[in-house]
C-alpha cells in the first residue's frame, strides 16, 4: 500500500484532537451541576451496564419492534468499534494490526466484522425506511440530523465493503471468511485490471477514513450524543426505585429548587445528554396522551438545549440568556408544562437509559413555589389550608374523628397498641373514602389486630405538598409528624392511601424515621392467606377489573396483593385493561393534580375510564382514595355510574366478612 504516512498522521491526529476537544467542551458543562454521589456500589453498576446496555434490555422489552432493530445496530456497532479502532491505530502506527494475530483468530474477527457490517447496513436501511414511511409520534425523528447520522453510518459500511472487496480482488485469493466482501469482490472487482486495483484500495481507504473521522466529529454536536453518553448514564443510574425527591436544607442564603441549569445535579444534566429521543416516555405519559403541553421527552430535550445555550455563559459567571422556566422557546420549559405532571412515573419506567424525569420536574416546581411564589391561583388556598389546618380543604381538625362514630375504634395508646391506622386526609374527611376507612376498621377488628388511631391529632403526611414543590412546608409537616410518632412510640403504620404509604415509607426515611408501613391491600392479602379472615366467598359473576395506582404499583411494586385479594373474594383474577401493572395509566390525581384545574386537553380520568369501559366491567376495584374519586367522577361524566360499581379492595372484603 502506497499511502503517504505523514498525511495520514496529520489528518488523523487533527481529527482525533478535534473530537476530544469537542467532547471536552460539551461534557465539561455537565460539571456545572451540583455534586451527587453516583459511584457507590460500583460492582453492581458494572453488572447493570452489562445487563441493560449490552443486553439492550430496555430497548428491546416493552413490545417495541424497532427496539430489536436498535439491538442489531448496537451490537454491530460494538463489534465494528474494534474494527475501526484497529483501522485508526493501524493508520497511525502501521505495525499495529490485527493481522499479526494467529490466522484463525484473525479470520474469525474478519468474519465478525463482515457480518456485523452487513447487519448494520440493513438496520440502517430499516431505520431510514421507518422514519420515512412510519414516522414515530414526534417530529424530530425526520430531522436532518437523524438522516446525516444514518447516512454516515451507511456510507461507512459501504466504504468498508469497498475496501475489503478491492483488497480481496487484489490478493487474487478467495476470502471465504468474509462472505459479503468476497461476494462484492467477485461482482464488482473481478473485471478490473489488477494494476488499477491499488488505486481503488487507496480511494476506499481514504473514503473510509474520512467518513469515520467525520462521523466521530459530528457526534458530539448531533442529537445522537447519546451514542457517547447513554452507556455511562446506565452506570450512574439510581440503584433504587426513584420514588422520592431529595431533601432541601433550609438555611439562609441557599437557593431552593432548580431555576437555572447549574442548580441541577451533574447527573440531571448528564441525563439530558443521554436521551436517545426515542419518545417512549411521552408515548406512556398520561398528560401527553390527553393533549397537554407536557411532553417528558421535550422536558429533557429542553434541559439539554438550555445547557448548551447557557452553559458556557454560566461557566464564565455571566448571566444566562435563556430562562430554564418560562417557555415560549426551545430550551425553556413553560410553567404550565411543569404543573401538568401527575408524577405517575410512567416515563421513568420505560426510559431505556433510566432518565429520572420526575425529580427534575419537582425541582423546577420548587423553584416556582419556593423562590418565586409563582403558583396557580387554586394552589394558594390549598397551601394555606395545609399550613393552617394540615388538610387540603381547610376543614377544622376536630372533624378528623367524625368517621369513628360509625366504627368500633380505639385511640392509639402508647406502649399498648401495636399498629397505628393512619387514615390520611381523604380517609378522614371525604365522605366516600370514609366508607373505606370504616371497612378497613371492620377488617382489622375481625382479624383481631391491635390497632388504634390518632383521631383529631393526626396530621397530613405532606404528599401533595412535596410533589407540588412546596418542600418548605412539607419539611415542617414531616418534623411535626415525626415528633408525634416518637412521642407515641409509633413504629408500625397501616395506611389506606398509597400516597400516605409512599410518603411515610420512602420520604420519611430521609429523616431517619424507619417505619414499618403497610398498605391495606398488602395487609388484607396477608390476613386472608394466613386464614385470619373468614370470608363468605360468594362468587361474583360480573366482570371485575383492577386499576393499578401509580404510587402502589410503579412506586412500590405492589402488583400482586390486590389481584390476589380480588381472586380470593370473587373466585377469579380481575381482567386487565390495556394499561396495567407497571404500564398502568394514571387516574390523573397524583402529584398534587387532585387539587388543580384540568382545562387543557381531555381529562385524564375520562381517558382512563373510557379505557376501563372497553372491558365492560361490572365493578372497578381500586386501592386509593384519589383513584376512587377520579373513577367515580369519570363514570358520572359518562352516565355509567349506575351500571358500574367502584369499590376499594377493603370494601369488597368487608362486604363478605362472616
Amino acid at each position: 500500500m502506497e499511502l503517504n504516512q505523514s498525511l495520514i498522521i496529520i489528518v488523523f491526529v487533527t481529527a482525533i484532537a478535534l473530537f476530544i476537544w469537542s467532547c471536552y467542551r460539551r461534557f465539561r458543562l455537565v460539571l456545572l451541576g451540583r455534586p451527587e454521589n453516583r459511584f457507590k456500589d460500583t460492582g453492581k453498576r458494572i453488572r447493570d451496564v452489562l445487563y441493560y446496555a449490552f443486553g439492550q434490555r430496555c430497548t428491546v422489552s416493552h413490545g417495541y419492534f424497532f427496539g430489536l432493530n436498535h439491538l442489531v445496530l448496537f451490537w454491530s456497532f460494538m463489534i465494528l468499534l474494534i474494527a475501526n479502532t484497529e483501522f485508526m491505530l493501524h493508520g497511525l502506527f502501521p505495525y499495529v494490526s490485527l493481522s499479526r494475530l494467529p490466522p484463525g483468530v484473525y479470520h474469525a474477527l474478519l468474519f465478525l466484522f463482515d457480518v456485523a457490517s452487513v447487519l448494520a447496513l440493513l438496520a440502517i436501511c430499516i431505520a431510514i425506511i421507518r422514519r420515512l414511511a412510519f414516522p414515530p409520534s414526534y417530529i424530530e425523528a425526520q430531522s436532518r440530523d437523524a438522516f446525516i447520522i444514518l447516512g454516515l453510518i451507511a456510507f461507512l459500511m459501504v466504504a468498508f465493503f469497498g475496501l475489503h472487496a478491492s483488497e480481496i480482488a487484489n490478493s487474487g485469493e478467495e476470502a471465504r471468511y468474509m462472505p459479503v466482501s468476497n461476494f462484492a469482490a467477485s461482482v464488482f472487482f473481478s473485471h478490473i485490471p489488477v494494476d488499477n486495483l491499488s488505486g481503488y484500495i487507496n480511494a476506499f481507504w481514504w473514503i473510509h477514513a474520512i467518513v469515520l473521522l467525520s462521523f466521530l466529529n459530528y457526534l458530539p454536536y448531533s442529537k445522537h450524543m447519546h451514542i457517547l453518553a447513554a452507556i455511562p448514564n446506565l452506570f450512574f443510574r439510581s440503584l433504587t426505585k426513584v420514588n422520592t425527591q431529595k431533601r432541601e436544607d433550609f438555611k439562609k442564603g441557599n437557593t431552593f429548587g432548580v431555576g437555572q441549569i447549574d442548580q441541577f445535579t451533574w447527573k440531571d444534566l448528564f441525563d439530558s445528554y443521554s436521551c436517545t429521543e426515542c419518545g417512549r416516555c411521552s408515548d406512556n405519559c398520561p398528560a401527553t396522551n390527553t393533549g397537554k403541553l407536557l411532553n417528558p421527552r421535550l422536558v429533557i430535550h429542553d434541559i439539554k438545549v438550555n445547557v448548551l445555550k447557557n452553559g458556557h455563559l454560566i461557566d464564565k459567571k455571566k448571566e444566562a440568556i435563556l430562562p430554564l422556566i418560562g417557555g415560549g422557546r426551545e430550551g425553556s420549559i413553560a410553567d404550565q408544562v411543569l404543573w401538568a405532571c401527575t408524577t405517575c412515573g410512567a416515563c421513568m419506567e420505560v426510559c431505556p437509559v433510566f432518565i429520572e424525569h420526575v425529580p427534575k420536574i419537582v425541582d423546577m416546581r420548587r423553584n416556582m413555589v419556593e423562590m418565586n411564589a409563582r403558583v396557580p391561583d387554586e394552589l394558594l388556598a390549598l397551601f394555606e389550608n395545609f399550613e393552617q389546618r394540615s388538610n387540603p380543604w381547610g376543614i377544622i381538625p376536630a372533624e378528623r374523628i367524625k368517621w369513628a362514630a360509625q366504627a368500633d375504634v380505639k385511640p392509639f395508646e402508647v406502649g399498648m397498641t401495636e399498629y397505628l391506622f393512619f387514615t390520611g386526609c381523604f380517609g378522614a374527611f371525604d365522605a366516600r373514602s370514609r366508607k373505606v376507612t370504616v371497612a378497613i376498621s371492620r377488617i382489622l377488628n375481625a382479624a383481631g389486630i391491635s390497632w388504634g388511631i390518632l383521631g383529631k391529632d393526626e396530621l397530613c403526611c405532606g404528599d401533595s405538598l412535596r410533589r407540588l414543590g412546596n418542600e418548605f412546608v412539607f419539611d415542617r409537616m414531616v418534623r411535626e409528624n415525626i415528633k408525634l410518632f416518637n412521642e407515641k412510640g409509633i413504629k408500625k403504620i397501616i395506611t389506606m392511601c398509597p400516597h400516605c404509604y409512599n410518603t411515610l415509607k420512602n420520604d420519611y426515611r430521609q429523616y431517619g424515621m424507619e417505619l414499618e408501613v403497610i398498605h391495606h391491600t398488602a395487609l388484607v392479602n396477608d390476613l386472608i392467606k394466613a386464614g385470619k379472615l373468614k370470608l363468605n366467598s360468594a362468587k361474583y359473576s360480573g366482570n371485575v377489573i383492577f386499576h393499578d395506582s401509580c404510587y402502589l404499583g410503579r412506586y412500590n411494586e405492589i402488583y400482586e396483593a390486590p389481584r390476589e385479594v380480588i381472586a380470593s373474594v370473587t373466585g377469579q383474577r380481575p381482567s386487565e385493561m390495556e394499561h396495567c401493572f407497571d404500564r398502568s395509566f394514571c387516574c390523573g390525581a397524583g402529584g398534587g393534580r387532585m387539587w388543580m384545574e384540568e382545562s387543557e386537553g381531555k381529562r385524564i380520568n375520562v381517558a382512563r375510564v373510557e379505557e376501563a369501559m372497553k372491558k365492560e366491567p361490572g365493578m372497578i376495584c381500586v386501592c386509593c382514595p384519589y383513584c376512587m374519586t377520579m373513577f367515580e367522577d369519570g363514570l358520572k361524566g359518562m352516565k355509567a355510574d349506575n351500571r358500574v360499581l367502584v369499590l376499594d379492595i377493603a370494601e369488597i372484603v368487608a362486604n363478605v366478612l362472616i
Binding site: 433550609f250 438555611k251 439562609k252 411564589a373 403558583v375 377544622i396
Partner: protein, 270 residues
C-alpha cells in the same frame, strides 16, 4: 413615604366554641391566625410599595405571641414591623384600640412621613369595622372605607383615588393624603411568601413598643380607656325545626306542602 398597615392576630373563630355553662369562649387549643381581612390590607400595601416605592410598616396591637403574625408580614415583604404590646393595652374596645394604633402611627410619622394607612374592613372576632375609621378620626385623616380598588396615587399632588363598592353601585372617590383606607377582600389576591423571605423573617427584628415607649395616659388605653365592655357571650338558642310532610318522594306533593306552609306563616304571598 410610609404606608402603615394595621393587622390583628385573631383566634381562628371557626374553631372557637362558646362554653354553654360559663358563657365564655373556649380558646384552648385554638390556633391564632392573621385576621383574614387584614391579609388583603397587607397585600395592597405591598403592591403600593412595588408600584410607588413606599416603605411598608406593619403595626399590630396584641399579646406577645402576635410576633408570629408580624413575622409572617415580614416574610411577605413588609419593611418594618412593630408590636404594640403591654398589659396596660389589654381589654381594649375599639375606642381604646384606635387610640394606641393612632399614637403609634404618629410616632412612626416622626421618622418618615405617613401617606396612607391601610386596614382590613373588619376583624373576624370583633366584627365592628370601627378601628380603621377610629384611627382616621384621631389622626384627622380622610377615611375611605369599603375600598375594592386603588385607582391611583398621585404623590406630587398628594392625592389618592379609590373605588368603593356599595350596595349595587361603585363610587370613585378622591381625597388628599394622608388618608386611611379600609379594604374589601375583592381588592386583591394575597401573595404566597417566598422561602428565602420566610427564613429571613424567622429571626428578623420585631420592634416592641410597650407603654413605656408609648407613654400614653392609662385612662385612655386598655380596659380603662374603653367606652364599652363585653358583658356576656352566648350562642343564640335556635328553635328546633319541624318535619313537615309524610316522607312522600313525589316532588310535586312535597312542593305543594311547602307552599301551603309558607303561606300559612305569611312568608309567601301568591
Amino acid at each position: 413615604m410610609l404606608v402603615v398597615t394595621c393587622i390583628k392576630q385573631v383566634p381562628d373563630t371557626t374553631q372557637v366554641k362558646v362554653d354553654p355553662i360559663t358563657g365564655t369562649l373556649i380558646r384552648e387549643g385554638v390556633p391564632f391566625i392573621i385576621n383574614p381581612f387584614d391579609t388583603y390590607a397587607l397585600e395592597e400595601s405591598l403592591r403600593l410599595k412595588e408600584k410607588y416605592g413606599f416603605h411598608v410598616a406593619v403595626i399590630s396591637m396584641g399579646p406577645p405571641n402576635t410576633e408570629v403574625t408580624l413575622r409572617k408580614a415580614l416574610s411577605l415583604g413588609a419593611d418594618e414591623v412593630i408590636l404594640l404590646s403591654d398589659r396596660a393595652f389589654g381589654g381594649a374596645d375599639t375606642l381604646a384600640t384606635s387610640m394606641v394604633l393612632a399614637e403609634a402611627i404618629k410616632k412612626l410619622g416622626q421618622k418618615e412621613e405617613v401617606a396612607i394607612v391601610i386596614c382590613g374592613r373588619q376583624t373576624i372576632d370583633g366584627d365592628t369595622a370601627q378601628v380603621g375609621p377610629g384611627i382616621a378620626t384621631r389622626l384627622g385623616y380622610s377615611q375611605l372605607t369599603l375600598v375594592d380598588r386603588i385607582e391611583n396615587v398621585d404623590l406630587k399632588a398628594k392625592k389618592i383615588r379609590v373605588r368603593r363598592r356599595l350596595e349595587g353601585r361603585h363610587e370613585i372617590v378622591e381625597t388628599t393624603l394622608p388618608a386611611m383606607i379600609a379594604v374589601l377582600r375583592e381588592i386583591n389576591r394575597p401573595r404566597y411568601p417566598k422561602v428565602p423571605m420566610r427564613l429571613f423573617a424567622q429571626d428578623a427584628p420585631v420592634t416592641l413598643w410597650n407603654n413605656k415607649v408609648m407613654g400614653l395616659r392609662e385612662d385612655t388605653i386598655g380596659l380603662k380607656g374603653s367606652a364599652t365592655q363585653v358583658r356576656k357571650i352566648f350562642s343564640p338558642q335556635r328553635e328546633r325545626g319541624e318535619i313537615i310532610g309524610d316522607g312522600s318522594k313525589n316532588p310535586q306533593v312535597a312542593a305543594r306542602l311547602l307552599i301551603d306552609r309558607l303561606k300559612e306563616k305569611n312568608l309567601l304571598s301568591l
